[in-house]
Amino acid sequence: MIRQAIAIFTKDLMSELRTRYAINALLMFVVVTLAVIMFSLVGESLSPGALTGMLWVVMFFAAMSGLSRSFVAEEERGTTMTLQLLASPMSVYLGKLLFNLLLVVALNIFIVLLFLLVMDQFTVAQPDLFWTVMLLGSVGIAAATAIIAAIIAKANTKGTLFPVLSFPVLLPLLMAGIAATKVAVEEPVWDNALPELQMLASYIVVVVTVSFLLFDFVWKD
């Protein structure tokens, strides 16, 4: 199962690297969004707390614009059937989850670095906590969006449905993530973010477990 999963992960990675469909679109999306934010904030001075919210908005919508690719592409190319025949549902889910994970982590690192670079007012009090939250948040986003992407791949209006279905499911993660990032940005005490970190971790465990149990029903026609 693990071997199959890794094979699917490599397949997705290879095809992504060859076409660069998601990467190009996502990079442009991030640059454009940040540019819009910067245009609208010329001359304004915002607190790091307010900028934290903006950072998460960019992260959320970037995830919404690119992460449904992994499953939607299979439907569009008509390769779903082949995959169903060749691999077990568990390994398909695991492979896609790994690919989404890589994509989100890379994407969010890019977003955060760019954000730190262009926003002078955005300073981080605790870099270690900040990056921990970013990592946990990325894993959570990848876990929740993987199963939602599998669901919407079967629907008619894929693009618009993805954020609609994802938002309520992602909201606990977003709230905890934003709160923890605010602590990391504004306060010098690590312990203040402990409840949020626990919540992020338990959210990931819950979503991955539920997805594993339910993926069978989504995947099989």
Binding site: A144, I147, I148, I151, I152, K154, A155, N156, T157, L161, V164, L165, F167, P168, V169, L171, P172, M199, Y203, V206, V207, V210, S211, L214, F217, V218, D221
Partner: protein, 315 residues
């Protein structure tokens, strides 16, 4: 048939009781109000212990006791009507801290046998609990029932279960909209704005979003079996993440609703400190709403079967 009539009267009578029953405070409430306002009047009830006599200023002074057994002087502007027969009054009054007596502004009626307690900051507005709380509970119940039938569909692949799940979600959406609008109208008058992102408002908003997403997903899939299994899966995923909002967050976060983390027990929290009369009316109302929900489910299911039959005939 009979139980539908009974249900109708049950809800109608309880609504009437909830609206008509007066709010009546005690001397303790009056003293509490007097600490922060000298002119604020609140309704209170007392029994007459001594019919008293004319006061120096031409008014009437008598002695009365509230339900806790505490006594005080009550000052009326004129001799109260029917004083010779009256055992007690429901009055609009304030406590005069200089004269150490209760100033009665208006007699609202005789001593009411059944009244809801006066809650500082809520007063008459406390009565929303009999409508808003059952609606909110039904929202959650309908969601859980919808998820339950979703699971049943995934186990048995019976499309009837899927339909039950969808119908329950529809009713849940109805109750959700009702709870949100009543709550937000009430919030305008009690908290000053329609929406202030109190944890419980956030949670009902998330439920509204989940219901909306559920129906958006259903309308986007054409094959019946696919629609059934995907919407069931979505409702289970939502059920795994949303309880956090409904049950945990409103209790650990500071907020305006009773039961929040910074609530010191002033509000009518269900288990403790709530008046027995209020609790009986609230729980009876909950029962009424539950049966109403079951009835609506039945109607929808019958409609569904009739439609299926007609489709068969047409084929």
């Amino acid at each position: 048939m009979w139980w539908k009539i009974l249900l109708f009267f049950w809800i109608a009578v309880l609504s009437a009781v909830a609206i008509v029953t007066p709010i009546a405070g005690t001397l303790g409430d009056l003293a509490g109000v007097a600490q922060w306002s000298e002119t604020k009047m609140i309704p209170m009830r007392f029994t007459v212990t001594d019919r008293g006599g004319a006061a120096d200023d031409g008014g009437w002074l008598l002695r009365g006791a509230d339900e806790d057994g505490r006594e005080a002087d009550f000052h009326f502007a004129t001799r109260p009507d029917g004083l010779d027969q009256a055992e007690g009054y429901l009055v609009l009054a304030r406590y005069d801290t200089e004269e150490h007596r209760v100033e009665v502004a208006e007699i609202l009626g005789d001593y009411p046998a059944f009244a809801f307690p006066f809650i500082p900051g809520l007063e008459e507005r406390a009565k929303i609990i009999f409508f808003h709380v059952p609606m909110s509970w039904m929202t959650v119940v309908a969601f859980l029932v919808s998820m339950w039938f979703g699971i049943q569909y995934l186990r048995k692949k019976d499309l009837e279960d899927d339909f039950r799940s969808a119908v329950s979600a529809g009713l849940g959406l109805l109750f959700c909209i009702l709870a949100t609008t009543t709550g937000s109208l009430w919030a305008k008058f009690n908290w000053g704005s329609f929406w202030n992102w109190d944890p419980r408002q956030t949670s009902i908003f998330v439920l509204l979003l989940v219901y909306g997403a559920y129906f958006a997903l259903r309308s986007a899939i054409e094959v019946d079996e696919k629609r059934a299994s995907l919407s069931a899966v979505y409702s289970i995923i939502a059920a795994a993440t949303v309880p956090f909002f409904i049950f945990i967050m409103p209790r650990i976060m500071p907020g305006l609703h009773p039961g929040s983390a910074d609530d010191t027990g002033s509000g009518p929290v269900f288990s403790s400190g709530m008046d027995a009369g209020m609790r009986v009316v609230l729980y009876s109302m909950l029962l009424g709403y539950l049966v109403l929900y079951a009835w609506l489910m039945r109607i929808q299911m019958r409609l569904h079967r009739i439609k299926l039959k007609r489709a068969d005939v047409a084929l």
